[in-house]
């Protein structure tokens, strides 16, 4: 997902504020537009699930990860207990940790205070992460934190407005349009996750297994169905993915099997 327009203004800013504003201007982009469409969907979904406007804004601003937000909204609608919801959210958010770990070495300057990194980590989610990983390496180290902050804070604040507007509009729209808004979220997620999982077979399997497991788990244990879907579908996908990787990389000599094992343990290597 490399944007051909490079992040290099004609007159490079000299101050932190200048870089912050330069980052803000990067807001006008296709990934940000798609994300806004997803937040239009989220506002409608929250409204349809009986979540109030202040609660919806809290979720956008303080959670800022659509999968987790959707899990919370689903739990509110389904009456899931607090602990089960916390587990489900923590499980769906675990992916943020390796993403954050990969971004931080790129984001930090020589003298960036630790607290700034902790604060900026809140904005790690797919869109801002891809932005950071692709644009920041071209910038001087001292510019990276403010530049990223300018983009990420703008993205968050604008999408709070987008979610609020769509929450408000959902009840005033014709029912077909409101239904189409609710459909935006699963549609956007299914496609962007499928795309993001391009290089790792286990992740595509996890998507397929998760979809297949969900109705079964719901019939068996409706209060913890998502958790079971994640653990069972994910474990099966992980094992199947390892098996596939091994079979693909294995001409039948023993030496080849050995290297296949080594490759298998580093299967995420091609990704960034």
């Amino acid at each position: 997902m490399r944007d051909p327009r490079r992040a290099r203004p004609s007159d490079p800013p000299t101050s932190g504020l200048g870089w912050f504003l330069a980052g803000q201007r990067q807001f006008v982009s296709l990934p940000a537009a798609i994300l806004m469409a997803a937040f239009v969907g989220f506002g409608g979904l929250a409204r349809a699930s009986g979540v109030g406007l202040p609660e919806t804004l809290f979720l956008v601003g303080f959670v800022w990860a659509l999968p987790s937000m959707i899990v919370v909204v689903g739990a509110i609608q389904a009456g899931t207990p607090l602990l089960a919801t916390m587990f489900a959210v923590a499980l769906s958010a675990a992916r943020l940790m390796p993403m954050t770990m990969a971004l931080m070495p790129i984001l930090r300057g020589d003298r960036t205070p630790r607290w700034v990194l902790y604060a900026l980590s809140h904005f790690v989610a797919v869109t801002a992460w891809v932005f950071g990983m692709t644009k920041l390496p071209d910038l001087p180290r001292s510019a990276r934190a403010p530049y990223f902050a300018g983009f990420a804070v703008t993205l968050t604040v604008v999408n709070m407005g987008v979610a609020a507007a769509s929450w408000w509009a959902a009840a005033r729209l014709p029912p077909s349009a409101a239904a189409a808004l609710v459909l935006l979220t699963p549609l956007y997620f299914a496609l962007s996750l499928w795309r993001a999982a391009a290089r790792v077979p286990a992740e595509r399997l996890a998507l397929v297994f998760g979809v297949a497991c969900a109705p079964v788990m719901h019939a068996l244990a409706p209060s913890i169905d998502l958790l079971l879907t994640g653990v069972i579908g994910g474990t099966a996908a992980h094992l199947a993915g390892r098996l596939l990787a091994r079979r693909e990389a294995a001409p039948s000599t023993e030496a080849a099997d050995l290297t296949a094992d080594l490759d298998g343990s580093a299967e995420g290597e091609g990704r960034r």
Partner: protein, 119 residues
């Protein structure tokens, strides 16, 4: 409804405590840990591959739930239309060189067309 669900306690602060613990804390803890460990661990480890697979299956389960048992106005549309619209979107996404924008637009148009046709 279980006792400690979002609507489980009749106190003004309870829904907010629920949102803070289940939303903010359970989610941001991973980002904070990510910063804390950012110079020691890395993304290629097999443990992370497994955690990511579990998380991906979980999110896929959420997507399935949103399509199979939706809330609000989407529940008025038939299951055939919901699945059909997503299938059209996915097909267009694949034909359009994995463009999420094309897939979303075609899926939505298919859905609206189906609604007009009374599905």
């Amino acid at each position: 409804m279980s006792a400690l669900s979002f609507h489980g306690l009749d106190a003004w602060w309870w829904p907010w405590l629920f949102l803070i613990l289940a939303g903010w804390v359970s989610n941001d803890v991973w980002r904070l840990l990510g910063v804390a460990f950012s110079d020691r661990l890395h993304e290629a480890s097999p443990v992370f591959a497994y955690v990511k697979a579990v998380a991906t299956a979980l999110v896929a389960g959420v997507i399935a739930q949103l399509i199979l048992r939706p809330g609000g106005d989407l529940a008025e549309a038939s299951l055939v239309l919901r699945l059909g619209a997503v299938a059209c979107g996915f097909l267009a996404f694949r034909l359009g060189r994995d463009s999420v924008a094309i897939g979303v637009v075609v899926g939505e148009l298919a859905f609206l067309a189906g609604r007009f046709a009374g599905l």
